[in-house]
């Protein structure tokens, strides 16, 4: 293929990965921003979303669109509920101590992974996309569903932004983030807000997992890649900064698309990692982090 079509393919691939990454990293950033928890199990919530999507969608055999819609609603809810209980049972009892919660979420990572392996098995399972069409360019064809993923992720990102910036619950979350003790003094149920945030962060990862599963298949080890990329995104964007997370997701997603089309997938990962190193050296708190309060 000549340069033009190559560039188009790189742009398409980059856009898809940028939107999925933005959705996944947003959950991680939210949990860190409000709760100051580095959630190492975040990738497993992504994987759980995908695996549960396989389960839910096979409940409606013969109707892929309906099965997928069911999965899109139920998987994030189920994953959110699991995360909510994990917060109540483990994180709250550790008083959200930063070091202890890292170890606890590492534990969650292994528990979730092994449970999925035991119950769901080691095979990768496909989920049929709700709509399946092929966009035909003069040089190559492209999966139409991938563009549906972009649209759906965009809508979800907007919804989350609206929830955080324009609703009362968002206000409560932001207040908790700014100053936990003052918020508590004003009667905000901080414990409940924390559980909600943790569940919301996990649900966002799960939604990304559900959207991705018709492209990638559900597999018990699929959580590692999104976890690493989300961490890279959140570090570059600035820990806790939602705007920074979004911008970083697009930079990484698009550069991943470009580099992996023109050079190699490994090189794009090397460059992303190098970018993290540079950011940590020159702006240790990330490109868009607000100054510490």
């Amino acid at each position: 293929m000549s340069l033009g079509p190559h560039l188009l393919l790189a742009f398409l691939e980059g856009t898809v990965s940028a939107f999925v990454l933005a959705l996944t990293a947003l959950g991680l950033s939210l949990v860190f921003g409000v709760m100051r928890i580095v959630n190492v199990a975040h990738g497993e919530f992504f994987m759980l979303g995908a695996v549960l999507a396989y389960g839910f969608s096979s409940l409606v055999p013969g109707l892929p669109a309906l099965g997928f819609l069911l999965a899109l609603i139920l998987s994030p809810l189920a994953v959110g509920a699991i995360a909510w209980s994990a917060d109540r049972l483990v994180l709250a009892r550790l008083n959200y101590n930063p070091e202890a919660t890292i170890v606890a979420t590492i534990g969650m990572l292994y528990i979730i992974e092994q449970l999925v392996l035991t119950i769901y098995g080691p095979d990768a399972h496909p989920v049929q996309p709700p709509i399946s069409f092929r966009i035909l360019f003069p040089w190559f064809g492209y999966s139409g569903y991938k563009l549906v993923v972009v649209a759906a992720s965009g809508m979800l990102l907007l919804t989350t932004w609206y929830l955080l910036m324009r609703t009362r619950i968002g206000l409560v979350m932001r207040a908790t983030q700014l100053d936990r003790e003052t918020a508590q003094n004003f009667g905000i149920p901080v414990a409940r807000v924390y559980s909600l945030i943790f569940a919301l962060g996990a649900a966002l990862a799960a939604v990304a997992g559900v959207l991705v599963v018709p492209i990638q298949q559900a597999h018990y080890l699929m959580g590692l890649d999104p976890l690493l990329l989300s961490f890279i995104t959140v570090i570059i964007g600035g820990l806790g900064s939602l705007r920074g997370t979004l911008i970083a997701a697009f930079v990484i997603g698009l550069s991943d698309g470009m580099f992996s089309v023109f050079f190699s997938g490994t090189l794009s990962k090397i460059i992303a990692t190098l970018l993290v190193a540079l950011v940590l050296v020159f702006r240790p708190s990330g490109l868009f982090a607000r100054s510490a309060r």
């Binding site: 293929m1 691939e13 892929p64 095979d123 496909p126 190559f140 999966s143 298949q217 597999h219 997938g265």
Partner: protein
């Protein structure tokens, strides 16, 4: 175990003071006699069975990919192994002793693979180790087996054994190697599909075997390689790789391994649609995957290498029937318990056949104890083997074995996807897959 043995022996010594023959001694003597009789095949079938249950077992370490990217293979390797062991034990075991499998998960990880081999040698004290599949795990584990002088039978199909890169204790007697597979099929591909080939392969040892040997073989047929496209093992999307395939390509040759393979094929369908080149893939790209999965309709009319045809063919042998029934696989290559669970049919027979090679070699060398001397005899017995005829023991087909290379050679199958099943269109001869030997392990010290 040791203290138990000590306790037993001290008891029998004290009893021996009172009586010349103890009950335990009598049973042991009878057992040994029966063992010798069973080994020489003198005992009738049921007697051998009873005897095999009573004798101390032959312990085989089964290094299995229960977790990690090889887990789907691992599960079927385990099912096949258990079925083979059940069949062998029911027929009298090895030298009158039942086989006991000690399985350890290596997580499809080279470092853990080496640890597992060490654990087999030092903790479990097994007689031999077998079962490893993924080439990087073989490469990581085999040196440890060599150092510990542990007979190590891999079921991997990489060219690492026959290339001489490993050691005298490592064998691959139950499955052919990549070099042999690709050179035997290249002439058919060149004359039936096309001569300008683009290759997509995993970016590690197994993929490089394909890259090097298939490139050379297709060039030997007067063909040319239009592109070499390695794919990182952790990759999850593939559209970008298809962009690198030059327009003049007549044949796309793909071999992918791991959980991303279905995505690979689906994206290939999105990319090419109906205006595709001829496509020749290794079944590794679709092992354990249902051909009726959404998106795979695209594969209709494409070709695959198979070591052992997944779908029962019109000329199915009695041995294939026997083997399928024993491992619990139906005529479509899926589990008889759940037709959605598709087996790794083109690789897992290697476990079955390897176990029968171990059995034959142990019987030939009169193997009884896990000592270095007897293990050395076992190694020499395997090296002395030359052929495995097609049989219940070798259901995939007849094979030759080169003791100097520690590698077997057999038939390959090329199948066409038609209406959601794989139909064999060509079977290669054993001679098609032979090449100039690169090493002689028998010259290395034991």
């Amino acid at each position: 175990m040791t203290s138990d043995r000590k306790g037993n022996s001290s008891r029998s010594t004290s009893k021996a003071g009172r009586s010349l023959i103890t009950r335990r001694g009598l049973v042991k003597g009878l057992g040994a006699a029966a063992g010798a009789a069973a080994a020489s095949g003198l005992l009738p079938g049921p007697m051998r069975y009873i005897q095999a249950q009573a004798a101390e077992p032959i312990r085989l370490g089964f290094q299995v990919h229960r977790t990690g990217i090889g887990a789907a293979y691992g599960r079927w390797y385990e099912q096949t192994t258990n079925a083979a062991v059940k069949t062998i034990n029911a027929a009298g075991g090895i030298n009158g002793r039942p086989i006991e499998i000690v399985a350890e998960d290596d997580g499809t990880d080279p470092k853990r693979g080496a640890e597992v081999v060490e654990k087999f040698a030092t903790k479990h004290k097994v007689d031999a180790v077998f079962g490893t599949l993924f080439s990087h795990v073989v490469m990581g584990s085999a040196p440890t087996a060599g150092q510990l002088k542990m007979p190590y039978f891999v079921v991997s199909e990489g060219h690492h054994v026959a290339s001489g890169a490993l050691n005298r204790y490592t064998f691959q007697p139950g499955i052919t190697d990549v070099r042999s597979q690709v050179i035997s099929m290249a002439p058919w591909i060149a004359s039936n599909l096309g001569r300008k080939v683009a290759m997509i392969y995993p970016d590690y040892a197994f993929g490089y075997d394909h890259r090097d040997f298939f490139s050379a073989a297709i060039q030997g047929q007067g063909g040319a390689i239009t592109a070499l496209i390695p794919v990182a093992p952790t990759e999850t999307t593939y559209s970008k790789y298809f962009a690198q395939i030059p327009a003049e390509t007549e044949v796309l040759y793909h071999v992918m391994v791991g959980p991303g393979v279905l995505t690979f094929v689906k994206e290939m369908g999105d990319h090419f649609g109906s205006s595709r080149p001829q496509i020749f893939g290794f079944i590794d790209s679709l092992e354990a995957t249902d051909l009726a999965s959404p998106g795979l309709e695209f594969l209709d009319g494409t070709y695959f290498w198979e070591a052992f045809p997944r779908y029962a063919q019109k000329d199915q042998s009695e041995f294939d029937k026997h083997y399928r029934a024993a491992v619990g696989v139906d005529d479509n290559g899926a589990s008889t318990a759940d037709p959605k669970e598709v087996s790794t049919y083109s690789h897992m027979f290697g476990c079955w056949e390897t176990l029968y090679v171990i059995k034959a070699a142990m019987e030939k060398s009169g193997y009884q104890k896990s000592t270095f001397a007897q293990k050395g005899k076992l190694i020499e017995a395997v090296e002395a083997m030359t052929a495995f005829p097609e049989s219940d023991e070798h259901p995939q087909g007849d094979k030759t074995f080169n003791g100097k290379l520690h590698q077997c050679y057999g038939h390959q199958f090329i199948s066409k996807v038609e209406g959601g099943r794989l139909n064999v269109v060509h079977k290669t001869a054993i001679e098609d897959g032979l090449y100039e030997p690169e090493t002689d392990y028998t010259k290395k010290a034991l």
